[in-house]
Structures are given as structure tokens and as C-alpha cells.
């Protein structure tokens, strides 16, 4: 395998033209899979790995004109966590990043990697879905934007075209939501894959829920939304009774699978239960 180390976007797009080229972000997922593929003798391997870490245009955080935050896809989780704008404006994303992997994984892994891996358990995804994030895709032909929820097509599947990279996630900070919550249920305190996770945003008007955005991880092939449960909450105070009613709707609608981390039934139960935590906020 070749390894290409472009230093700017022009070199990056050039490198991506190589037949069999595969972008390499933090490597925390890709290199694990490549090791397994080599051990199992799986062919073909990528002909070339194209590093994204040297391309400055893919890194960093900045505020766009409309107030949305533009998070460079090659920014590491640790860089985003250390950024004051992320911490202040996107607390649920910060919470998710805090629990992602482990410190060295956070020093290596990137936001773009977490998005493009498109794992049902990707820790960044529920907050980004709840916030209505948009992704910016760049190639020699230029840049295009699409909603994250449309970009991710299924486990490991995205709308990324050949020759294209994820350049950034654009995240509206949604300051109008007073209740902001992220919870990850893992099997241990670090180095854990989410069994269920929930990102929740509640906008209150005169004590009643005017808008609810709920996004679960690890209960479906991609992040799962539940408009029925959101509707159940609207117009009610965020009491235990209201949240319990919404939790019942969640349990009725969610269709998780069982795997070695948890059964489908446990996921169904807990997907509902996590809503109750909002009663404490």
C-alpha cells in the first residue's frame, strides 16, 4: 500500500484520483479493519491511503455568518473538545466527545472519521442529528452540502462519491433549546461502544415543551428519530408523567437488534428509560 500525504486541498484531490485510493483520517477505525483484513487474507486492500491530517483546510472550528459552527472534518476529537466554541455552544457534542473511546483515541480520531464510518454506535452522531447538522463534501469539482441525516445511508454507507472527502460538519448551535442532554449507555467507563445513546433537545415556552428533538444511537441501522415521541411531549410540561408517556411511545416504535453487547429488548427498554432522565434537568 502506498501512503500519500497531501499538504493542501489541491494535492488531496489529486491523490484521491489514484485508483484504489482510500482517505485515511485518524486511522482509529480504518487501521483496525485493515489489520483484520490482512490477517484474514481479504483482498483487495486499498492501493493507496491518502492522509487527511496534513490538510489545514480540513481542520479547525469557526463560526459562519449565520451563527452555525463549521467543524473541520479532520479535527481530532481532542481538538474539538478543547475548543471554547464547541464547549460553550455544543455541550451535547462535547459530552459525546468526552466519552468517545479513550484519551489517545480522542487524540487521533477525527469528527469526519466518526461520521464517515457511519456506525450505528458513532458517538458524535446523535447530537449532530438532533442539532440538524449539515455536511460539506469537497472534491475537485467543488463543494456541496447535504443534511447529515441524508448523507448517512446505513451502517458503513454514506453519500460520499469517489474523489470526494468530507470537509466539515456545519452545526447550528440551537441556543433556543433550554434543555440539552446527551447520555451514552456503554458497558464500561471508557473504551466503550454505545449500547444505547440519546441526545435530546427541549425548547420550553412558559414551562411547556414547545419543541422536542430526540435522537438515539445504537437502536437502528442509523441514528433513530421518533417524531411520535416528540409529538407526545409537545405542549406538556417536562414532568415524569409526560416523559413516561413519551418513553412508552419510544418502546412501541423502536426496532433495535440484539448483539453481543445487549439484547433487542434491553435496548428497547432503555431507549425509553433514558427519556426519564430529562425530568431531572
Amino acid at each position: 500500500m502506498r501512503v500519500q500525504s497531501p499538504r493542501d486541498l489541491a494535492e488531496l484531490f489529486e491523490a484521491l484520483q489514484t485508483p484504489g485510493a482510500q482517505p485515511l483520517a485518524g486511522g482509529t477505525d480504518l487501521l483496525v479493519r485493515l489489520r483484520a483484513a490482512r490477517k484474514d487474507g481479504v483482498k483487495p486492500l486499498p492501493a493507496s491511503l491518502v492522509r487527511l491530517d496534513g490538510v489545514e483546510a480540513l481542520r479547525g472550528v469557526r463560526r459562519e455568518a449565520d451563527g452555525a459552527l463549521r467543524l473541520g472534518a479532520a479535527s481530532t476529537h481532542a481538538e474539538l473538545l478543547a475548543h471554547p466554541l464547541v464547549r460553550a455552544a455544543l455541550p451535547e457534542l462535547a459530552a459525546a466527545l468526552t466519552q468517545l473511546g479513550s484519551p489517545p483515541i480522542r487524540n487521533m480520531g477525527t469528527l469526519g472519521g466518526n461520521i464517515c464510518t457511519a456506525s450505528p454506535a458513532g458517538d458524535c452522531l446523535p447530537p449532530l442529528y438532533a442539532l440538524g447538522a449539515v455536511v460539506e463534501l469537497a472534491s475537485q469539482a467543488g463543494a456541496r452540502r447535504m443534511r447529515l441525516a441524508e448523507f448517512i445511508a446505513g451502517p458503513g454507507r454514506t453519500g460520499l462519491k469517489p474523489g470526494e472527502v468530507l470537509a466539515a460538519a456545519i452545526v447550528p448551535p440551537a441556543p433556543e433549546f433550554q434543555v440539552r442532554h446527551f447520555e451514552k449507555v456503554g458497558r464500561r467507563g471508557a473504551l466503550a461502544i454505545a449500547v444505547v445513546s440519546l441526545s435530546a433537545l427541549l425548547r420550553l415556552e412558559r414551562g411547556r415543551i414547545a419543541e422536542a428533538r430526540l435522537a438515539w444511537g445504537s437502536v437502528g441501522p442509523t441514528v433513530w428519530r421518533c417524531p411520535e415521541a416528540e409529538a407526545e411531549l409537545v405542549g406538556r410540561k417536562p414532568t415524569l408523567a409526560a416523559l413516561s408517556a413519551a418513553a412508552a411511545v419510544v418502546r412501541e416504535n423502536v426496532r433495535p437488534i440484539g448483539d453481543l453487547r445487549a439484547s433487542a429488548d434491553y435496548r428497547r427498554q432503555v431507549a425509553g428509560n433514558l427519556l426519564l432522565r430529562l425530568a431531572l434537568l
Binding site: R35, A95, G101, S102, P104, G189, R277, L281
Partner: protein
Amino acid sequence: MSPRTTISFRLNGRDISVETAPDARAVDLLRDLGALDVKEGCGTGECGACSILAGGAHVLSCLMLAAQLDGREITTPSGLGTPGEPHPVQQALAEGGAVQCGFCTPGMSMAAAALLAQNPAPTREEIRTAISGNLCRCTGYVMIVDAVQAAARKMRGDSGPPQAAAQTSRKKPAAARKKGGKG
């Protein structure tokens, strides 16, 4: 066969140039170069035994390619300190009973040194978080956390009496540690 390439980096304060397959793993290259202080326990980023510092940041050499070392300042545990001239973290780990089988300890010293470079007075909880990517099967981590605190005090020049290992619980409810803040 992979094409070979020459990479140059700084290893424990020494400039080196080496010819390698660019897609070789960093851990293999470093061990081939004699840095047997870099261990390997899993190959998949789950154990932390292969921890090194790249530009001062704690990273895993089993999930890095040799090409990613190019141009970097790399520190391995033996670059942090030696038995004759140990880093305060290594000294504290040794004196504090934090070493049993010791196979995780070099990597642990990397995690702890990276933490103390950023945060000279970490809490026990912050230490636990900083070493949470480094598995230890022998110690239960208690003496490791104690030792990192002791090293921090020493590096701050604080010679006060050591705090006893906390008898009190970390009382935050399970959910609190997981919770995002309010907007």
C-alpha cells in the same frame, strides 16, 4: 510488496532517518529500531500498551503508520526517562507500588506524563480519565492514581504530606458523569 520510502523523525531527542514500508505500523518500526520499551498488547487500540507521545500528545503506535511518524517529535517511555534518570512519573510509579507485572507501565507513564504536561494538579478523577485508555490487569489502578498524584506534587515542588488514597466515594450519581450540560 509495499514500496519503500525514507522517513525522518526525532526519536527521543535524536534525529533519525530510516527506510521503511510506509504502511508498516509505527509500533513495528519503533520496535525494529530498538525501542522495545514500546509494548504491544492488542494491536487494535484497546489496551494502550503501545502508547507513545507524538508532539507531546498521547497516541497509540499500533494505530499509526510509519509514514505518520515522518517529521514528528516522538517520545517513547525510555525517552521519558531511564532507570538511572527516571522521569518523576516513572519514579513515582516505581516507588508507589504502581508496578506489578509492568507490561502496561511504560504506556501508562506516557499517559500520565502527557496529562501532567497539560494539567499540573489533576484530581483523582482527571487522572483516572487520562489513563482510561491504558488497561492494567494487575493493580486495580489505585496505586497508579496515587503515584500520578505524587508525581504531580513533586513536579510542582509541593513537598506537602501525601494525601491518603481517598476513602470517600466518588459520589456523583452514575448519570451525572455522562450528562451533557444545559444550554
